[in-house]
Structure formats: structure tokens, C-alpha cells
Amino acid sequence: MLEFFNDTQTIHFIIIVGSMSLFFIGFYGIATQKNLVKILVSFDIMESALFLFFIGLHYKVGLVAPILDKHLKTFTNMVDPVPQAMILTTIVIGLAVLALGLSFGIEYYKLTGRNDISKMNELRD
């Protein structure tokens, strides 16, 4: 029965459904939550969904990870390495932004005792 899952189409389908539902969870979080930390978490969930989506769609059954070792001697039969490199970079960037956002949030909380973004409205005319 598990052969069923050993099919590229099926795996892609599952990845699309999974990542998209993850994406929309994040989306839901952005749309409904007002706590800064939750918003940042939602962003991270959305980003993760994208990473999953991207990496997943580049996987085909029978391919191996693009790491040169005993399984992989030549550049054949391996997953496209570019997305992996890209995603790695993006994760780092996402992490940086998340960290920055959290540090802003903390400082802001220290100053005002608030973390509700819809109540951040001191910048106005």
C-alpha cells in the first residue's frame, strides 16, 4: 500500500496540500492575530510553507540529495541543488528578520507594555 506513496505525483500532491494548508494557517494568523509575536510566528509559518512547497516540488522519486559521498559519485540522479541552496539562504534571512522583529517587539514591550500591533498608532498627524 505504501507503494502508492512512492509515486512522484502523489508526493507532490501531498506536499502541495500540506504546504498550502500550512500557508493558509499562517495567513489566518496574520489576518486574525494582533499580537506582534503571533504575527511574526505566522510569517514564519508562511515562509516555512513556502520552503516546503519549493523543496518538495523539486523532489522526484528515486533521486538523491545533491551531496557528493558514496551514493553520489557523478552529477546524475540527484535532486536539483539550486532550490536547496536558495532555501537555505532564505531560511537564514527569515531567521534574521524574525530575530530583528522579536528584538523590536521586546524593546517596544519594555517601553510601553503593549504588543498589540493594531494599537500601535502613535505615529499619526
Partner: protein, 482 residues
Amino acid sequence: MSLGYYFLLPVIFSFLTPYFKKIGLLRASSILLNLLLFLQTLVYTMMSLPQISLFSIKPPLGIAFILDGYSLLFLLIFTFSGLMVSLYMPWFFKANPRRDEARFYLFFNMLIAGSIGMILSCDIFNLYIFFEITGICSYTLSAYNKDKLGLESGIKYLIIGSIASIFIVFAIMLIYLQIGTVNLGLIAQRFHQIDPKISVLIVLMLFIGFGTKAELFPMNFWAPDIYQGSISPVNGLFSSVVAKAYLFVFFHLFYLFGLNSKYMLFVMVIGAITFLVSEFTALNQTNVKRLFAYSTLGQLGILFMAFSTNSIDTVSGALFHLTSHSISKLLIFLTLGILIHKLKSMKIDILGGFKSTFLTIVLVISFLSVLGIPPFSGFIGKILILKGFALSHNYAAVAFILLVSIVEAIYFFRIIAMMLDKSRAKVIVNVGVMNYAILAVLAALIVLFGIYPSLLLHYTDLAANALLHPTNYLTYALGVGL
């Protein structure tokens, strides 16, 4: 000499900031860096274009920086603005003593690097990385004042930036999934092969991503807040460097991907609405920074209208207008920095409450230039844009721009009248020698480009040609003949 230095030098200088701080050369180092970048750009103006610098492998597989006419003009603007701001900062820190100057310089240097990287990189993923570098630096810089307002603006900018980056990442992934490349040249070649529905999605995501950052209506509700919360030199950078960098990318991709025929009207309408709404909103402002933020948004609106026309003359005019707007807004925000410091307020009344003939003259020059009144540089840009619209028989746009410009004139001249009003209580403002020089140079440039426009038109024509007919760029981006 390599284009790589544009990124490498700022990074090196940024990493060396603690060391510079230790030896007390922080301010000087930043000036040196920006001077180096500016000089390098001046050298490039004398070389044949495009120029390419490879990192290990040649494109389309490898990473490269490409400098064509289009990016050269922006490079000139960015490095020049950077130089001016770095020259201005010593006064600023002397006037507002801070303990964490190093933090500013670190991110300031990186901001310049990121902006320049965005306009030089020839693959979309690197572009994204520079986009994020610019973004992170701007979040930090806008939160540089670690008070309520500063942090609030930083948080707001960060949230908006995250949304934009999600859209862009998504778009890049879709592009890679469809075409299997991130090289701009290859994407440009194969973009029409994408399934129309997916292509619409990609375009929309890129539009939202870059449009949000480039402060287009209705994605610009955050922008005035950011200007309000951050310090004046950073306002100047946002207005004349960062916003312009996003605009650069927007239209670079717009024309490279051949979207001009299909989406021209759409972008024009969005630009027009941005212009209209911003100028009307600006009328009602009492905070100087917000006021000029709205003015910036409005000018970006005109630029979007003009850039999307697909005609060399109009785009050249738009580039001229962009340059003169960058200079004017830099001047305005740097002057605001002086005034806000001296008068300890951000209300619009401070513009009527200072007494300094020099500041009055330079401000008036920049205002008139923004309004497009001869003999200042704004006029040339505006007349070229209007002429271009008229030539394409788009008289509605001509009428629209002129009508909204009157609204724009209302608040600019209200401020001028305020400055000239002798009945107001005035505080004598002494401008330091350095600021004197900076503002004088900026004002002189406005006048110079106004009475001798050929000087700048040479570059804008070059840029418009490179933007609309990117054949040379494409051959380099594809690595042909390297």
C-alpha cells in the same frame, strides 16, 4: 576594478565598524567609503557600458553584477546621496549625541550596499537577497531612535517588509518552478512560455512585493509612519535611495519580462491614484515629515505613470524627474533635520519659525523644483514627461498631472508663504559650514540641471535606452561572448 567592490567595500567597512569606533574614525570611515563608491561610479561614467563583473562562474549559471546605462544613473544617485548623507552625519551626531553611532554606520553602509546590489545583480535570487539586506537595514535604521515612535516605525516597516518578501519569494519560486532558472536574462527570454495564469500570478506577486516597498497606493499606508518615526537623514535616504531602488527593480523587471504592453495601463492608473491620493492627503498634514513623505509618495506616483509609458522620451524625462526629485528631497530632509533639531518640534510651523536666508533660499529652490517650475531641474523632467504623454496622445494623463500639481502647489506655497511671513516669531538658525556646503551643492545641482539639462539628459537618455531596449543587458546577462 570590479563592480563587486560596490558590495565588498561596504561590507568590509561595516565589519570594521567596531575597530573604527575604537580608533575614533567612525564618521570619517563612512565618508571615505561613500567617497570611494562615488568616485568609482564617476570612473564608470567614463567607461563603455554595459560592464560585467563575474564571481567565479559566468552567467547564466554564475552570479554576476551588470552595470548598464539604466543602473549607472541610479548608481550615481545612490552613491551621491550616500556621500551627502555621510557628510551630513557628523553634524547630526554632534547635535544629537548618541552612544550607538556605530549601529547607524553599520546599517547605513549596508543599506547603500544593499540598494546598489539590488540594481546591479543580474539574477533574481541575488536580487532578493539584496532586497532583504536593504530591508533589514531600513527596518533597523527607521528604529534607530529607540523610543516609542522609532520602534513603532521599525516594527511596522518590518511587518510590511515581511509581507512583501513572502510575495517575492513565492514569485521567485514559481518562476524557478516554471522556467528552472533565476538568471534575469533567461527569465526574460522564457517568460512568455509560462502558462498565462501562472504568469499573471507571478506578475501580481512581484507587483505586490515591489509595489508595497515602492510605496504604491493602496499598499502605502505605512509609508508616512516610517518617515515620521525615523531620523531626518534616514528620511532622506528612504526618499532618495531606498524608494528609488525599489522603483528601479520594479521597472527593470517590468521591461525585462516584457510586461509593458499588457500591464502598462494598470501601472499607469495605480501611479495616477497614488499621485492623486498622496497630494490630497499631504494638504491636510501638520507634521513636516509626514507632509514630505506624502509629497514623496505623490512624486513616485508621477514616476510610475511616466515609467510605464514604454516611450524613450517619457522614460528619459521620468528619469530626469527622478534624479531631480532625489536631490530635492534629500535637500529638504537634511534641512528638516537641522530645523527639527533647532526648533525642537516636528510641527509644520517650524518652517515658518526659522530665520536663515540661506535655508529659505535652498528650500524654496527645492520646492520649486519639485513643483516643476523653471528654471529648476524639476521643470525639465516634468515637461519631458508631459511632452511624452502628449506625444502618445494621452491627454488625460497630461490634464491629470497638471491638475493634481496645482493641489501640490497649494501646500508647497503655503509653506513658502509661511517662511516669508515676517509676522511670525523667528528663531535664528545658524547652519554649520559643512551643512552649508552640502545644501549649497544640492541646490546648485538643482539649478545647474535646470539651466544646463544636457548634462543630465545624456545619462537619462542612456538609461531610458537601456531600460526599454535591454538587448545589450540580455547578452551580458546570458553570458554570451564572455
